[in-house]
C-alpha cells in the first residue's frame, strides 16, 4: 500500500478527541455530499416558485416563471455530478439504475431524478417554449435556425388549438411537478433521516426540514438571479416581483425555522443516549456553522429584515439592496445547514464518546475547488440557456 493512501489519516488522528471507533477516522462523505443536497434543494425550491405562478395563478411572478424553470434545469443537470464523482467506483454508477436494491433509500435516486428531469422539467419547459421556438426557427438564419428547428422536435403547429393544448399539458405537468419536487427533495432528506445508526440524522422530520430549506434556498436563488439578470439587461427591477417573492420567502423561512427549532427542542427534551455528544458537537465543532452561519446569518437576520419589509415601506433603492442581501444570506444559511447535517453527522463517533476531525482540502476530486466548480457550472449553464431561450423574447401568449 502506498503512503498516499493513508498518510493524511495520521494527521487527522492527532486531531481526534475522546474515543472513536478505529474505522471512523476518515469522513466518508465530504464536501461533495454537502453540495449535492444544496443543489437538489435549489432545483426543488426554484420549481415550486415557478409553480406558484402557473398553478396558483400568482400573476405578479410572471417575469420570474421562465427564469425559475431554467434555473431549476441548470442545477438539475449538474445535481448528479458531485454524487457520481464522490463514488470510489464511479464507473459502476450505472449499476444503481439497472440493479437497484429494493430496500435501499439511495437506490431509487436515479429514478426520482430521471422522472423529475425528463417528465417534469424538460417537458414543462418544452411546452412553454414550443410556440416561441417555432417562431424563432422561422426568424433565425443558419445554424440557429437548425437548432431551434431541432428543439421543436418537428412539432410546428401554432394554431390556436395547438397552443391551447400546449398550455393544458404544461399545466398538467406543473400539477404533477409539485409533488414531484416535494418527493425529489423530501427524498434527499430521507436518505439521511432513515439512518438509525446516526442520531444527528435519524429523525422523521428530516425530509420535511430538507423540503422547507430547499424551498427557502430555491426562492432566494430565483430572487437573486432575477436581480442579476435585470442588472445585466439594464432593465428596471419590478419591485412588486421582489415584494411578492420576499413575502413567500418570509413565510417559508418562518416554517423552516419552526421545524428545525422543533427538531432541536425535541432532541434536547428527550435527551436520549446521544444527547451529551450532540451537545458537545453543536457547542464545539459546529458552533460557527450552526449558530452563526445557519442560525444568525442565514435565518434570524433575513427573518427580521423580511419582517421589516412587510411592515415598513422603505425607499425603493433600500428595499432592493435589502432583498439582494437577504437572498445571499439565506443561500449561505442553507448551504451551512447542509454542511451541518452532512459533515456534522460524521464528526462524532457512533460510540458517542469522541470526535474525529474534518480537514477540507483545496484540490482533488473531493476538494473545495471541485465543489466550487460544481456550484459555478450551473450558473454557466443557466447563462447559456438564457441566451438560447431568452424569456424576454418569447412570443406573448394570447389569453
Amino acid at each position: 500500500m502506498e503512503p498516499h493512501h493513508y498518510q493524511h489519516l495520521y494527521d487527522i488522528l492527532t486531531h481526534a478527541q475522546g474515543y472513536i471507533f478505529p474505522n471512523e477516522i476518515d469522513l466518508q462523505w465530504g464536501i461533495l455530499i454537502v453540495v449535492y443536497p444544496f443543489i437538489t434543494g435549489l432545483v426543488a425550491g426554484a420549481f415550486i416558485l415557478a409553480s406558484l405562478e402557473r398553478v396558483f395563478k400568482v400573476k405578479v411572478l410572471k417575469p420570474t416563471y421562465q427564469i425559475a424553470l431554467l434555473t431549476a434545469l441548470s442545477f438539475l443537470l449538474v445535481a448528479t455530478m458531485p454524487l457520481i464523482s464522490h463514488l470510489s467506483q464511479p464507473q459502476r454508477a450505472y449499476e444503481i439504475l439497472i440493479t437497484p436494491h429494493s430496500t435501499s433509500a439511495m437506490a431509487i435516486f436515479g429514478f426520482v431524478y430521471l422522472w423529475y428531469l425528463m417528465v417534469v422539467l424538460l417537458l414543462e419547459i418544452w411546452f412553454d417554449y414550443r410556440p416561441s421556438m417555432v417562431v424563432w426557427s422561422n426568424e433565425k438564419k443558419g445554424v440557429m435556425r437548425l437548432v431551434y428547428r431541432i428543439l421543436t422536435l418537428g412539432v410546428n403547429d401554432v394554431s390556436p388549438r395547438a397552443l391551447k393544448w400546449d398550455r393544458k399539458l404544461g399545466y398538467i405537468i406543473t400539477v404533477v411537478g409539485i409533488p414531484s419536487a416535494f418527493i425529489l427533495h423530501g427524498y434527499v432528506g430521507f436518505i439521511f433521516g432513515s439512518i438509525k445508526a446516526n442520531p444527528w440524522w435519524s429523525t422523521p422530520l428530516m425530509p420535511i426540514i430538507f423540503l422547507f430549506s430547499a424551498m427557502v434556498s430555491g426562492i432566494a436563488l430565483v430572487m437573486l438571479v432575477y436581480m442579476i439578470i435585470s442588472y445585466f439587461r439594464r432593465t428596471v427591477i419590478d419591485l412588486n416581483v421582489l415584494d411578492t417573492i420576499g413575502k413567500y420567502l418570509f413565510f417559508v423561512l418562518i416554517l423552516d425555522f419552526t421545524l428545525e427549532g422543533l427538531d432541536q427542542i425535541q432532541r434536547i427534551y428527550e435527551a436520549e443516549e446521544s444527547f451529551e455528544i450532540i451537545k458537545l458537537l453543536v457547542s464545539g465543532k459546529l458552533y460557527l456553522t450552526l449558530f452563526v452561519a445557519q442560525g444568525l446569518v442565514g435565518t434570524l437576520i433575513p427573518l427580521i429584515t423580511l419582517a421589516f419589509l412587510q411592515f415598513y415601506k422603505h425607499k425603493i433603492k433600500v428595499r432592493k439592496s435589502m432583498y439582494l442581501i437577504v437572498s445571499i444570506l439565506v443561500l449561505i444559511g442553507v448551504y451551512s445547514m447542509r454542511w451541518n447535517v452532512v459533515i456534522g453527522g460524521q464528526l462524532f463517533s457512533k460510540s458517542f464518546s469522541g470526535f474525529t476531525s474534518f480537514k477540507l482540502g483545496l484540490i482533488g476530486l473531493d476538494g473545495s475547488l471541485m465543489a466550487a466548480f460544481w456550484l459555478i457550472l450551473p450558473i454557466g449553464i443557466l447563462t447559456f440557456l438564457l441566451w438560447l431561450l431568452p424569456p424576454w423574447k418569447m412570443v406573448p401568449e394570447e389569453e
Binding site: M1, S88, S351
Partner: protein
C-alpha cells in the same frame, strides 16, 4: 381433424407456458418485494445459521484476534482499517469512562488510570455483528452487500460502487472503505475458512477461548448451550439490528 389436434395442443402448450412464466414472474416479484424492510431468514435448513459469542470475562486484551484477522484477511496494516479490534474500558470512581483502543489493541494495552481511581476495567473485542436485519444490507443501493445462506454478511467487491452508505448505516463502526481496492470492506467471519470447517482466525488464536461461533439452529451446539447457560446481551438492542453477536457479561457502559 388433424389440424384441430395441433391447434389444441398448441393452445395447451401456450397456456402452460404462460402459467409457468406468470408464476415465475410472480414468485420473483413476491420474493423481491421485500420493500423498505430488510430481514434475512435462513433459507436452506440444512445449512448452519451462524451466531457468535464473546465472553468479556475471559478476554485479557492481548490483541491476538485483531492481529490474526489482519494477517489472515490481508487488511491494511495502518491503524485506520480494522475488521476486528479490542477496546479497553476503564470506569473511574467518579463515574467517568475512559475508552481506548491504540492500534486496535494489536500491541496490547497499558493502564494509565491508577488503581486507586479505578472502579472497574475490562476489554471488549469488537467485530461485525452479522446482524439478521443488517442496516448495511438494507441501505446498499445496488445489493453489493448481502447475507450468505449461513447468515454471514458479505460484500461483493466486484459490484460495490463505493457510495459508503453502508459505512454510515453500521451502528457499530465495523465497516471501512479499503484504501486500495476502493470498495467496502468488513469482517466475513473468515467465510473462506468456515467453508473448510475451520474456525475464523480470531477464534483460532484466542488464548483464553473468549470467542466462540456456532450454529444457532443446532440446539445441541456449544454456542446454543452457552447462550442457554449465560445471560448474554447484544450491542445497541434498541436499534433492532438483529445482531447475532452475543456478549457475555456486557457492562452498560459499552456501546
Amino acid at each position: 381433424m388433424e389440424n384441430e389436434k395441433v391447434k389444441s395442443s398448441r393452445r395447451k402448450f401456450l397456456k402452460s407456458a404462460a402459467t409457468l412464466a406468470g408464476a415465475t414472474i410472480g414468485y420473483t416479484w413476491l420474493k423481491s418485494s421485500q420493500f423498505l424492510l430488510y430481514g434475512a431468514e435462513p433459507e436452506d435448513k440444512t445449512l448452519p445459521w451462524y451466531g457468535i459469542v464473546i465472553d468479556i470475562e475471559k478476554c485479557i486484551g492481548c490483541g491476538s484476534c485483531a492481529k490474526a484477522c489482519k494477517l489472515e484477511n490481508d487488511v491494511p496494516k495502518e491503524p485506520f482499517f480494522f475488521r476486528n479490534w479490542v477496546e479497553q474500558y476503564t470506569v473511574k470512581n467518579d463515574g467517568s469512562v475512559i475508552i481506548v483502543s491504540p492500534n486496535g489493541g494489536m500491541d496490547g494495552f497499558e493502564q494509565t488510570v491508577p488503581d486507586a481511581e479505578t472502579f472497574k476495567s475490562f476489554f471488549v473485542p469488537k467485530m461485525c455483528n452479522h446482524c439478521a436485519k443488517s442496516p448495511c444490507i438494507q441501505v446498499c443501493p445496488v445489493g453489493a452487500t448481502y447475507d450468505s445462506p449461513e447468515g454471514v454478511v458479505l460484500v461483493d467487491e466486484k459490484y460495490c460502487i463505493g457510495c459508503r452508505y453502508c459505512v454510515q448505516a453500521c451502528p457499530y463502526g465495523c465497516r471501512f472503505i479499503h484504501p486500495v481496492k476502493k470498495v467496502a470492506n468488513k469482517c466475513t467471519l473468515c467465510y473462506h475458512r468456515l467453508k473448510k470447517n475451520l474456525a475464523p482466525a480470531c477464534m483460532e488464536v484466542c488464548p483464553t477461548g473468549a470467542r466462540m461461533y456456532g450454529n444457532l439452529r443446532d440446539k445441541h451446539s456449544e454456542l446454543v448451550k452457552f447462550l442457554k447457560e449465560h445471560t448474554t446481551q447484544v450491542l445497541r438492542p434498541h436499534l433492532n439490528t438483529g445482531s447475532k453477536l452475543y456478549y457475555n457479561a456486557l457492562s452498560s457502559e459499552v456501546r
